[in-house]
Amino acid sequence: MPLLTVENVVSGYGEMQVLRGVNLTVGHNEIVSIVGPNGAGKSTVMKLVFGLLKPWEGAVTFDGRNISGMAPEKLVKLGLSYVPQVENVFPNLTVEENLDMGGYTLSGSLDQQKERVYELFPRLAERRRQRAGKMSGGERQMVAMGRALMLDPKLLMLDEPSAGLAPLLVDMIFEKVVEVNKAGVAVLMVEQNAKKSLALADRGYVLATGQNQVDGPGEKLLGDPEVARLYLGG
């Protein structure tokens, strides 16, 4: 049974319908990438899974449990973790305090979890006393991912982790995603950088006009001329 299942979900903001029947699954230990043109509802899917938006129809199941519309503060305790696309750090808190907040629901010392994050991102260890708001875009993305990894989630959800980063940093962030995944964390990400994210994904979904149009193994989607023509810009 997959770790996460999104079944026939319809949803939107207020009166405006954005998702018109989305189906996707993420298996244990899988990297799944959602790509597609702007306005396709990619970020909306993430918000929906994470309880920031309620499904009008359909259901979301995580680890055998119906989590449709469940509040984020409950989801984190089940092993779901989410990095929003923008404003994904606490700017006035130090790096270390940002990580502390990631482990907020745990009682007791967080030293072990923090050490693990620092091993993944040695750069953060050097800068643990610096305010997150004063860091560069790439460093902030590391803080954001580090915060999300504090609870040792089963599924890490990344909304456009490479947005606004220089190409070198994009590669670095994607390498980290693979590293996190190798440590046993399933990853669901949304990317506008379709080629790179599909190349490393086990499977991909192409989302357009609020529905998933095509899905399959990442490499196969990349090689699909129809997908390339429609959504990957040739």
Binding site: P72, P84, V89, F90
Partner: protein
């Protein structure tokens, strides 16, 4: 990877950066004080009484700070201007009076004018008012938040609450001023160089400092304090991290409301109890908070001391009635150069 490797600045930009720097603002405030001293000299006010006014301003700054921290914390976490904060101070002061009147009267704790009852009243009233303000929040502001009401709705609700609290004071205690200890002598002692203060005032400043240090430690060192700062920084991310927002709101009111009660009781001990006392403190409170950058607890502290000192020292050369106005002018002057306030991050 540094983003600050800016090219050489043009002279105009350099002057601009200098004028908006925090250091320049401190120089500016120093110049304002110097201007006050010169104006006072011109009026023939002695250096001693100027120094006294400075000390009085610092004392006032301490009590203002207790109120200002609450205003700024509530703004930071709940994004609302709590116009009821001044009257919360009044209400706390009068609840203190109630406790003192109920308790059997003891002798004054020399050299102070108050007895054990005042200290006990502080211990009872501070947490009580903290809880009370949380209760009011749940009854009045929470439904507004749930409805995503406009800021003006929160402001009007807070104003209504302010009038309500003051009416309660009028109903139960009347419109007259009073003291915690009516008719008890409050002699002043010489502190240094002819500066005379009452021992009570030293206690007030001391307690204000202790409470402020306590809030600092809570915000910097404890889990709930960090969660409060995180929620102020980015409420959505706080929720996504699993922070219990309601707990953060409870603590915000416990601290904000509790400090307001302490500030009200200390102010009343220093001056007197009047039903309008907190209402008249509201404007200086907001001036302090805005001067120090809305939502920044340390800024509110600095702002409170600046406003307190300016307010008192201006009375050396103009009618004390204008103290409020002068304090406001100084706030405007600072904001002209640095619109984000003392502790804001310039863009």
């Amino acid at each position: 990877m540094t983003e600050n490797s800016s090219p050489a600045l043009r002279p105009g930009e350099r002057v601009r950066n200098l004028l908006t720097s925090r250091a320049f603002i401190y120089v500016l405030l120093g110049l304002v004080l110097l201007g006050f001293v010169i104006a006072a000299q011109a009026k023939g006010v002695s250096a001693n009484s100027l120094l006294s006014l400075f000390v009085r301003g610092t004392l006032l700054g301490g009590t203002l700070a207790l109120g200002a921290v609450g205003v700024t914390l509530v703004f930071a976490v709940l994004k609302m201007a709590n116009f009821a904060h001044g009257d919360t101070m009044t209400f706390g002061a009068y609840m203190g009076l109630l406790v003192i009147m109920v308790l059997p009267k003891g002798p004054p704790l020399a050299p102070f004018s108050f007895g054990y009852e005042f200290l006990l009243a502080l211990l009872i009233v501070v947490p009580l008012i903290g809880l009370f303000t949380f209760g009011l929040d749940q009854a009045i502001f929470r439904p507004l938040r749930a409805r995503r009401a406009q800021p003006i709705m929160f402001a009007m609700a807070a104003l209504g609450l302010a009038f309500g609290l003051r009416s309660l004071v009028y109903i139960f205690w009347g419109a007259d001023f009073t003291y915690y200890y009516v008719g008890r002598a409050r002699p002043a002692v010489e502190l240094f160089a002819g500066v005379r203060v009452r021992p009570d005032q030293l206690f007030i400043l001391g307690l204000a400092v202790v409470l402020i240090v306590g809030v600092y430690l809570l915000l910097e060192r404890t889990k709930i304090g960090k969660a409060m700062r995180a929620t102020a920084d980015n409420p959505d991310l706080a929720r996504v991290s699993g922070i219990d927002t309601n707990r953060v709101i409870l603590w915000t009111w416990l601290i904000g409301g509790g400090l307001a009660a302490a500030g009200g009781m200390l102010y009343a001990l220093d001056v007197q109890l009047r039903p309008e006392m907190g209402w008249w403190l509201l404007l200086p409170l907001f001036a302090s908070v805005i001067l120090g950058t809305l939502g920044n607890a340390y800024g509110a502290l600095a702002g409170a001391f600046v406003i307190g000192i300016v307010w008192q020292m201006s009375s050396a050369f103009i009618n004390p009635t204008y103290g409020h106005g002068v304090a406001f002018l100084v706030m405007v002057l600072v904001l002209l150069f640095r619109p984000e306030g003392l502790f804001g991050r310039s863009k």
